[in-house]
Symmetry: C2
Subunit: 183 residues, 2 copies
DNA sequence: TCGCGAACTTTACAGTGGCAAGATTGCCTC
DNA sequence: GAGGCAATCTTGCCACTGTAAAGTTCGCGA
């Protein structure tokens, strides 16, 4: 014991973000506290401020990270030759595996939504989503429908509104997404 | 002036709920404060406690009210002979017109989700949603898909992720819901 | 008329987010 | 190696929040 922690933490930023993910996954974003995060990481209550400025700053960083991860996931399945159902399934998988990130990403009232980094990441993810629909008559509408069905499924599942006993949510999501492509 | 307010407010419960809707609509549920609500209504900061017990109690009441209103809307359009697209459109309309209620309803970490009144109202709304699908092969899956697409559209719209210049969201929602019924 | 319970107020306390000023450290330059 | 500088972290503070407990006012039925 007596692991005298050094004055400089080293990876404070990363540690705070990880702790935030843990808290949000367990208690929801409403249970997030800046001081509590600092305690978990073993740092004084104002430690994180230097890296994030705000509580909203922490969530901004989380949202940015989330959109970036999502964009990478979607781009990967797309370039691997995946059709809409595959990309939609990847969307659902992301929402379930990165529940904390996902929850923050679509609550722009919680973070600095006009931050350059986050808007960039969001646009990148949006571009993949918009470009993957087959309907040529009204691409905007078709992509809205596609986004809606996978996003709705993911949201409802994470809110606990869709629980089906003993069913894998990702496979269920794939089946739901499949409903749209039978056109 | 000097409208000496009486010791007893009279309709405190209703007034607090209305104020909460106003605050959430403007600043999101993260901007909601119990003391702020009391101030807006013109009552001491502990006034609302007697009616709601908690801050979560206020949100529980709001969620209950929301699910009840939604159930009534959906039942009405159903009994008026509406098909899935009509019921789905009603769902979207509700989410947009009662944005504050809708935002709270699907954030069970914010309120007492196991409260008897709210579970009752939620089940009632759920029953209407589950019973309105045409697909006989797998009704559960079909209703999940139906719920997902309208819920996703409503959520994304309210989050500001789907803005189309000068388009009526309800009509857009109807078009999106229509994508699913072309089976 | 009286009293009882519901509705509201007052007071108090622990905890929160944000800010300012100070302490500590690694690093870069000479 | 020595000195200085900027990044990093701490301490102390303030206004504010939610919640609990005890006191005050009022409507209403016996």
């Amino acid at each position: 014991m007596t692991a005298e922690r050094p004055y400089h933490h080293g990876g404070l930023r990363r540690a705070v973000l990880d702790a935030a993910v843990e808290v949000i996954t367990e208690h929801g974003v409403s249970g997030l506290g800046l001081r509590d995060l600092a305690r978990r990481v073993g740092v004084s209550h104002a430690g994180p401020v230097h890296h994030f400025k705000d509580k909203a700053g922490v969530l901004t960083a989380l949202a940015t990270e989330g959109f970036t991860l999502l964009a990478e996931d979607l781009e990967a399945t797309r370039t691997a030759g995946g059709d809409f159902v595959e990309v939609g399934t990847a969307y659902v998988r992301f929402a379930i595996e990165h529940r904390a990130h996902f929850e923050v990403m679509f609550r722009p009232d919680l973070y600095h939504a006009d931050d350059p980094a986050v808007t960039l990441a969001r646009d990148r993810a949006g571009a993949v989503l918009a470009g993957g629909v087959a309907d040529r008559s009204d691409p905007g509408l078709a992509s809205a429908a596609a986004w809606s069905i996978v996003h709705g499924f993911a949201t409802l599942w994470n809110a606990g509104a869709l629980t089906r006993p003993g069913q894998d949510p990702v496979e269920l999501g794939r089946a739901v997404a499949g409903y749209l492509s039978r056109t």
